[in-house]
């Protein structure tokens, strides 16, 4: 492993680091946390290595933070490191979300619970919409990318075509055009 570090963490340590990050991360901005933890504080990775991983994690499908967990885990601890980091980011948070939802179900008898949850959902849709608008702002102002964005939206939201075919077709077309532009 090309690691520029004093002492690479064991798989168990990686699991614990990612479990802590998974359990305390609310509402995004996780790559900032990871950068602080692995590059700036523990100096386990070079910034360049980290940023390479980040652009791959963003380009490939999958949640950025789970992709980053696998990337970092692999760079620092090989196969076992990758598995431990992935389990760390997913499993504890998965157990917690089931617990939280069970707590909400226990309160389901009260009308207020549903009303409050509906209010939370409305505000949470704002997270989705603002992320969509931010992503839309980063789309180049040229006819082709804008058309791809519009067609994808209409196909998924209005026509309700299956996402997988829409993304496969629109995605490969769009990547091919980007590639040919250099």
């Amino acid at each position: 492993m090309p690691v520029s570090t004093p002492e690479p963490p064991s798989p168990a340590q990686l699991f614990l680091i990612f479990a802590r990050i998974g359990l305390t991360s609310f509402g995004g901005g996780l790559s900032g946390w990871l950068l602080r933890e692995f590059v700036q504080q523990r100096k386990l990775m070079s910034e360049e290595d980290f940023l390479n991983g980040l652009s791959i994690a963003q380009a490939l499908p999958g949640v950025n933070v789970t992709n980053m967990a696998i990337w970092i885990g692999y760079r620092l601890g090989g196969r076992n490191g990758a598995i431990a980091s992935w389990l760390g980011i997913v499993v504890p948070a998965a157990l917690l979300i089931v617990l939280i939802s069970t707590a909400f179900s226990a309160l389901a008898g009260f009308a207020l619970t549903h009303v409050a949850l509906a209010g939370a959902a409305c505000a949470a849709i704002g997270l989705s919409l603002s992320m969509g608008l931010t992503a839309a702002r980063r789309v180049p102002r040229r006819a082709f990318p804008l058309a791809i964005m519009a067609v994808t939206f209409v196909a998924v939201a209005i026509l309700q075509w299956p996402l997988i075919w829409t993304v496969l077709v629109a995605g490969s077309l769009s990547v091919a055009v980007s590639y040919s532009r250099g």
Binding site: G53, W86, A93, A94, V98, L127, S130, G132, S174
Partner: protein
């Protein structure tokens, strides 16, 4: 593994590979399959689960885990989690594995740029589908838009905003408006 868990796995496995730019992009299709196609949840149960997944820490795609849990208990949760995270985990593992020998800078750049409009389209579609399935009418849509504006214009903590949304609705309910 019970049959229903297998069906859940089959729904989420392909969805994993289209979660470009994060789990948000798959929410519209989850809704289509879980609510419209299979009828495993009602639209309002789905929106409830979505709200909880945003309140809870951890990756947003744990919405899948929660949906699996609600439909079929532990087996459902396990199937949905493996389904939504498994394929992409193998994919990035493979890329990390060959990265040192991989002269992929140009292709990588093209992927990042080319997938940008697709990700924007799917995330906007997810927001549209969620807005359309709100059963709280114009007050709810107004709150969603106000929350969008706040998130874009200020560095507000999203958790605070979601809690505020819940409090706002609870208050309106108590004074008899919602």
């Amino acid at each position: 593994m019970p049959a229903i868990a297998l069906s859940i796995l089959v729904v989420f496995l392909p969805l994993s590979l289209v979660t470009i730019g994060g789990g948000q992009s798959a929410v519209a299709d989850m809704h289509r399959q879980i609510v419209d196609l299979h009828g495993w949840m009602t639209a309002s149960q789905f929106v409830d689960a979505f709200a909880i997944s945003r309140l809870a820490p951890g990756p947003g795609s744990l919405l899948a885990t929660l949906i699996g849990w609600r439909i079929a208990g532990p087996w459902g949760a396990l199937a949905a989690t493996i389904g939504i995270f498994g394929p992409t985990a193998l994919l990035i593992y493979g890329v990390a594995h060959i990265w040192s020998r991989f002269e992929g800078a140009r292709l990588l750049k093209a992927m990042e740029r080319g997938l940008r409009p697709v990700a924007a389209g799917t995330i906007l579609a997810a927001s549209y589908v969620l807005l359309a399935s709100l059963d709280s009418g114009w007050i709810g849509r107004g709150l969603a838009l106000a929350s969008t504006a706040l998130l874009m214009a200020t560095p507000i903590n999203p958790l605070l905003l979601i809690g505020g949304g819940a409090g706002c609705f609870a208050l309106l309910h108590l004074v008899g408006l919602a």
